[in-house]
Amino acid sequence: MIHTDGLTKQFGTVTAVDHLTLDVPEGEVFGFLGPNGAGKTTTVRMLSSLISRTSGSAEVAGHQIGDPSAELKLRHQIGILPENVGLYESSSAYENLEYYGQLQRVEATALRQSIERLLRMLDLWEKRDLPVATFSKGMKQKVAIARALVHDPVLLFLDEPTANLDPEASKTVREFILELKRERRTIFLNTHHLDEAERICDRVGILNTRLVTTGTPGELKLGMSGHRTVVTVDGPMETLAAAIRSRLGDRRIDVQGSSLVVDVTDPDRENPEIAAAIVGAGGRLRQLTQASASLEDVYLKLVHEGGPSA
């Protein structure tokens, strides 16, 4: 659905996006993570042929970006929720959606049905004739997402859909995105909310002008923590640590209160050995868990180091 190769955008001397190479297959919800100024919005604008690229190439929904003859077709096949909702405040929700549907050349009957379906899904049908100015931020955001969907695009770009929303509004918007995911739509989601990415996305990419890494949230967390096993024990800590080392070979073991944090490479094989070493040395094993980094740890580490962990 999206394939980019060395996609680059410079604003004067500022490089906003640097050699982005990325694939997003059909039906995937892809989370694009990165701090402010990472180039997320610039990427979405390039992919939706709103702004030009400096170099590199990209194919979106079967169209090459930068090809003037394909531009209109491309924009007909995608839907965008921009960073700012940009609704006509004095117009009603219905009128806002209707205008975009007309610009997208949706036939009148189909457009009415599409608007009704979306507004019902979003619990806004009863309020369809009220000016958008009377809506809460969360409601406006929902109308703006509906606007991106009114022509039933094959690919949806959402640029920070829950930024600046209170927790309750974020939740409704997130639930709506999950509903779209169940419809098997391809979604490219810009965000800097990590748990949002983790809950919604099949795969994420971390961008900091350059693409730092991509993978499923699970893979990234695993890649970061390596594997560490945390055992909570009663007994002399240093003795138990020495027993583990003598059984599994020398390795890093941190003592944290009544817990030992052991570096492991193959948990399935080594965890039983750790348990056996502790019991053999006269310790009492209270708990053994596999430590995992949060996506936040991964993100902060990668963004600050500017490269994938070794």
């Binding site: 709103l50 702004i51 030009s52 924009r75 965008i80 975009y100 610009l103 997208q104």
Partner: protein, 245 residues
Amino acid sequence: MRLSQAWIVARHDLSMIRRRRTILGALIAMPAGVSIGFPLLVWYIIVKSPGITDGVIISFVDAFAFWFAIAGVMLPSSISAYSIVGEKTEKSLEPLLATPTTDGEILLGKVLAAFLPTMVSIWAGATVYMVLIDAITRGTLGYLYYPNLTIVVLVFALAPIVAVLAIEISVAVSSRVQDVRSAQQISGVLFLPFILLYVAAEIQVFPLDTDHLLLLAGILGLVALVTFRICRRVFDRETILTRWK
């Protein structure tokens, strides 16, 4: 360039404009004032100065009619400032640009939305003006002054050209300012040279007869062509998204 796509934009903007009382008010009040107020003034002048010559009456009538060209400056710039800066403040240009509509189609839609109501209002006003002037001056002149070539040139050549020029200038100004009021005020500067022309006509320096109106229309037409190129450069998708402040 698909006219039908531009028309969708124009129709939308026209319906937004219909909700703005100040714009609607100006569209009705200004031509109404010119087309009723000035004939009454002509009537008053004739009644009060029995010895007045036909030539003086006609110079008044022509000069007053020039206000329809001035309306062509004032009315559209307030509309197009609203329809462009308004979108800018609502940040609705980006979603608009994200639809399968070219920059040229959006621009044309916005130009039409400002041009059409202006011309309708000017033409309606000019019709009323002609009827009233004829009714008032017939007895003195002994013939029907209107319709004549002068007013045809004025409302079918000069006024549309002036309106297009005013819209173009307001598009260029709209890209630089943050609020509708300042866009309207800056575009309003164009109003000054027209007032000067009007004063020049009243003191007989630049008579607003057919020849002079055609000359003016020709010069302004050329200016409008140059301005059009600036306008297209300013109203470019990427420029709007990355450089408009």
